[in-house]
Amino acid sequence: MATFFGEVVVAPSRSGVDEEEEAREETPEDREIRRELEKKREVDVHWTLKSGATAESSAGEPFLCSKFIVAIGHNAAAFLSSFILDSVCWEVVGVVKLWNEWCRTPNTTNVLPTDSFCLFYRLISDPTVLLCQCSCYVAEDQQFQWLEKVFSCMQKESLQVTILSTCPVADYKTQESTLTLPSPFLKALKTKEFQEHVCCPLLEQPNIVRDLPAA
């Protein structure tokens, strides 16, 4: 493709399929590299449901969960840290370990607010209430894995899930300019099954949510 300056560049394709990739057959070496990379990018969920004992996410029965609150991103995680979480009422019961080009989660559950981490907490007075702070970036290819591995551990009947996330105001599409909008502001998306009252207006078309909150 020729740009305005007369240089010829390869334009990134919105089609999502790289032409070179498509034409080349995968060699056994390519396959091996891809497998290694996939292994490195695997999402590991570790639960410490009984104090002291660690349980692999795959072993054991799914545990009972009535409310699951997930905070995705630094802002949402900070909100939970500032207003909800404390060491008296909440205990750490799980951690997600993952690696991608943007972040690596720490090996400890003793994290700093500036770290990228993904921890699960349980309300001591009602162990069916679970909370997740996910301030690490979960890459596109890891989002589905995260979703499946985390939710496969919980019983899903009568489970109410609340997802907290933030998006830049500049991404919000509206008739007026976003500069004049009183920000920050709340918008919500809800499934048909959610019958309770929503505390803020619903997200208008054509705005969408993507990445882990969408998954």
Binding site: M1, A2, A11, S13, R14, S15, G16, V17, E19, E22, R34, E140, D141, Q143, F144, Q145, Y172, K173, T174, Q175, E176, S177, T178, L179, T180, L189, K190, T191, K192, L202, L203, E204, Q205, P206, N207, I208, V209, R210, D211, L212, P213, A214, A215
Partner: protein
Amino acid sequence: LFQPAVSVGNVGQLAIDLVISTLDMTKVGYFYTDCLVPMVGNNPYATSEENSKELSINAEVYLLPSKKLVVLQIRSPFIKNKYRPFCDTLLSWVKSCNCARVVVLSSSHAYQRDDEQLLGTPLRYLLTPDLEKAVGGHIQELKWKEMEKVAAYPGVNDTEKVLHIPGGGITKLLFTESCSKGIQMAVLLKFCSEGDNIPDAFALVSYLNDWLQLIKSEVNTSSQWKAPSSWRLLFGSGLPPALF
């Protein structure tokens, strides 16, 4: 079954939006897949307050029983290395549903056209051998242009020709796989560039309509296709008055 290929200008997807919106199709299901980037929003085809609250995700299936028409809409790009598994799953689904015919709406980079392709219509078609037998005659009557093959080794050997759809996403893979699996598939595509692709979508959907007569084609066909409400603000929010 109509479906788009995620391709240059997203023309296929925009055209499918027009089909779903104009024919007022009902959502009947979705693909739960790890092959597409996740996204969610409220109903993109909302016409009123009540029907705007339904959630919509990245791959959904719509139905129009009166025309025995099923449409798949894809709303996000493929995750790296996942487009092949998606094509495989999609084609097995097509076979298992006993779907009679599949039409893929797609597009290809306009700047890759050769001198001859620069003249005349930018619309092209492809038919798998099984569909060629069934509708080849009708297509001939419409005087449509088949997508030209290009030399496999340009400059070196001009006799060996291959199908090449630059910017077409999974179009070529779907087509070649369907040829080998005996699926009756047609590909309708338009040469275009990235930009405001709404006119391209209208052109592609009119092309489809010339063949399948989904709506009555009158002189000014573009006014009969209903753009969905989600097409508002395609290029961002309003401008700040302070700019002027």
